[in-house]
């Protein structure tokens, strides 16, 4: 996993609430393998009108904003299913950070597991960032060390779980950490099976 400490990059506004995972990556694309990539499918249907033409009223489709690495949205970003492909789609499309007032819990965990920062800010602050970015292409700075977003002369604090921040700053993978605890895991499993035999499935087959 790539480390993340500080990023100054073009940001794109998405002034929509409840950008659920079905919108982030529609189910029909989920048969793809990881190697096939998901970037082209990010928000596939939201970005198009009923005839399949790219909408011109969406900043995400604006060629002047191509190369955005930070996305700003309204509340409950990534609510819905556990599909990690929602995070794959954002990462494959070049994003490293999503800023929103709230996130789906499972999406946020998936984001962190893919090096994508879910940065929570207040609703008023989100509206302010959306208004700034609506004026035209612009950059933001996301500083994970200090948990602040810098927009022009304004500095906005964001929140993220401390353990997630540590992992993202170091680019750590959960598995390496867990494997260091193999002895405790084996002892726990043996003790649990002995004390609570009902916790193992019966064997009808």
């Amino acid at each position: 996993m790539d480390k993340f400490d500080r990023l100054t990059a073009p940001a794109c506004p998405l002034p929509v609430s409840n950008v659920d995972t079905d919108q982030l990556i529609p189910a029909r694309f989920m048969k793809r393998t990881r190697a096939q990539g998901y970037g082209e499918q990010l928000l596939h249907d939201l970005r198009r009108d009923g005839q399949g033409t790219l909408r011109t009223d969406l900043a995400l489709n604006d060629p002047a904003r191509a190369g955005a690495r930070i996305l700003v949205a309204r509340r409950n970003f990534g609510g819905g299913s556990s599909r990690e492909a929602a995070a794959y789609a954002l990462v494959d499309a070049g994003f490293r950070c999503v800023i929103a007032p709230s996130f789906g819990d499972i999406f946020a965990a998936n984001a962190v597991n893919n090096g994508l920062v879910p940065a929570r800010i207040g609703e008023a602050e989100a509206e302010d960032l959306l208004a700034r970015l609506a004026e035209g292409p612009g950059e933001l700075t996301v500083d994970l060390e200090t948990c602040t977003i810098v927009a022009g002369n304004r500095s906005i604090p964001f929140t993220i779980a401390p353990t997630w921040r540590t992992r993202l700053l170091n680019g750590w993978d959960d598995i390496q950490l867990t494997l260091a605890h193999q002895r405790e895991i084996a002892a726990f499993a043996a003790a649990r099976a002995a004390a609570f035999p009902w916790s193992l499935p019966g064997l009808p087959d």
């Binding site: 048969k31 556990s82 965990a109 867990t178 019966g202």
Partner: protein, 472 residues
């Protein structure tokens, strides 16, 4: 941080019992008792393969085919090669790693969140995970159960553990009794409308109070299933005598004296009387009417007797934009009466509402009546299908003109090709009315099985209660 000693909630007891390593900042390494996998779990297996690692506990890992399985023509090979490949990948992964497989053609096959409890794979006191957000369903038995992403699936496959940050605890206490014709789905939607689709984020929600106690196990499963639609990764109901009666004799549950010993332990799980919650919410069941969703988030829910909101009257610009976009997508007008919304199709199915009790509730409305729109009924599992057929419910459905098909996720998520056409509007017993959920351009109204049946026979959203009059 709540201590292991002192008064504890059900959630605290479950969490503490599974903590292998106490980490920093409330991030603990938890033991997983059951890992359920499905076709969509292939990413997790691919990650495992990339590391050359084996499945740590094949005996605790159970594969169920549901997301992509066809609901018709099961006697033939799957026609779509891409779908056949995804279903085949599950079978190959299960075979390669020596997992129990409840695959296509198995008499126990069905939707993983119906199958787990039904087979007794899910028990009180267990920690259950699955790469599917509706894993919250299993909490209805008093299990700690939540959905995980593919990286977490890989982690559980490799280690049978998972790092998780301890959730905050919310209790939703429902007093009184639900009225006739009002069920668990209405209660679930009423809660989501109250707290919002992110209202439960960061929390484990325990449902309590007389109206929850009075729910059947099927009703509790529906309620916990929808916990994730309020943003809560897990929902819980404390085990009681109803839980034990429902579980006794299930194939993978302990049998005989072993069941009685387990039941003693399970009855210690309910929270201590003076345990504290981080957040409390109280509702009166008597105030809840049949509820439908009108927009593109489960929080866009109103009593069927109401009219649609007007963005001009919204509290703030973000809310106004949300209402406008939802009305535009759904092709509805501000102020329109909900009971005037016509539907093109109905669907009864999904891990939310396709258990036997749900099918009976739909049949109670459909018996002796004809649907005026086409519709699909997909039972939650193959055993549910057989039971419904023994009870003659299938004949009620087909006599009404609806299609009775095999079990799977089907039109809830459309991965198997059971889809609405662009612009079509459905009354659906499912859990998500997201844009495009039931197919590109599809329009979904969520409601209970009885309410879907009522929409089927009238062709529009309507209060089911008059249709139940005199039907006992």
């Amino acid at each position: 941080m709540p201590p292991d000693a002192g008064p504890r909630t059900l959630f605290d007891k479950l969490w503490d019992a599974h903590r292998v390593v106490a980490g920093e900042d409330g991030q603990d390494l938890l033991w997983v008792d059951r890992h359920l996998v499905h076709e969509g779990s292939f990413h997790g297996f691919d990650k495992l393969r990339a590391r050359g690692a084996p499945v740590a506990r094949p005996d605790l890992t159970i594969a169920v085919a549901d997301h992509y399985v066809p609901t018709r023509g099961r006697d033939r090979p799957i026609a779509d090669p891409a779908i056949a490949d995804v279903v085949g990948r599950l079978e190959r992964n299960a075979g390669e790693h020596g997992l129990r497989l409840l695959g296509l053609g198995d008499a126990r096959q069905g939707i993983v969140h119906v199958v787990g409890p039904e087979q007794g794979l899910t028990l009180p006191g267990l920690l259950v995970v699955c790469g599917d957000s509706h894993t919250s369903t299993h909490g209805a038995l008093g299990a700690l159960a939540f959905g995980i992403g593919a990286s977490e699936v890989a982690h559980v496959l490799m280690t049978q553990t998972l790092w998780q940050r301890r959730s905050k605890r919310m209790r939703i206490t429902v007093s009184g009794a639900l009225a006739e014709g009002v069920g668990a789905k209405d209660l679930a939607l009423a809660i989501i409308a109250r707290i919002g689709a992110d209202g439960g984020a960061g929390h484990a929600v325990e449902y309590a109070g007389p109206a929850v106690r009075a729910l059947s196990m099927e009703g509790r499963l529906t309620l916990c299933n929808m916990a994730i639609e309020s943003g809560a990764r897990c929902g819980l109901v404390a085990p009681d005598a109803a839980t034990l009666a429902w579980l006794r004799g299930r194939p993978y549950a302990p049998q005989g004296a072993a069941f009685d010993r387990a039941a003693e332990a399970w009855m210690q799980l309910p929270g201590d009387a003076d345990a504290e919650f981080d957040r409390e919410l109280a509702l009166d069941a008597a105030e809840i009417a049949p509820i439908v969703t009108w927009g593109v988030s489960p929080e866009d829910a109103l009593p069927v007797t109401a009219s649609l909101p007007d963005p001009a009257l919204a509290a703030d610009p973000a809310r106004a934009a949300q209402i406008s976009e939802a009305l535009a997508y759904m092709d509805l007008r501000p102020g329109q009466r909900i009971a005037d919304i016509r539907v093109d199709r109905v669907f009864i199915g999904s891990c939310t509402n396709a258990r036997i009790e749900d099918l009976r509730a739909a049949a109670a409305v459909l018996r002796g009546r004809r649907a005026v729109v086409p519709g699909l009924i997909s039972p939650g599992s193959s055993p549910v299908k057989r039971q419904a057929e023994q009870e003659g419910l299938d004949r009620v459905f087909t006599a009404a003109g609806l299609d009775w098909v095999e079990s799977g996720c089907s039109m809830c998520v459309g991965m198997n090709g059971d889809l609405l056409r662009p612009g079509e509007r459905a009354a659906s017993t499912t859990n998500r009315n997201f844009k495009g959920r039931q197919g590109p351009g599809s329009r979904t109204h969520l409601m209970s099985p009885a309410m879907v049946a009522a929409a089927a026979v009238t062709g529009h959203l309507t209060d089911v209660r008059p249709l139940l009059a005199g039907r006992g």
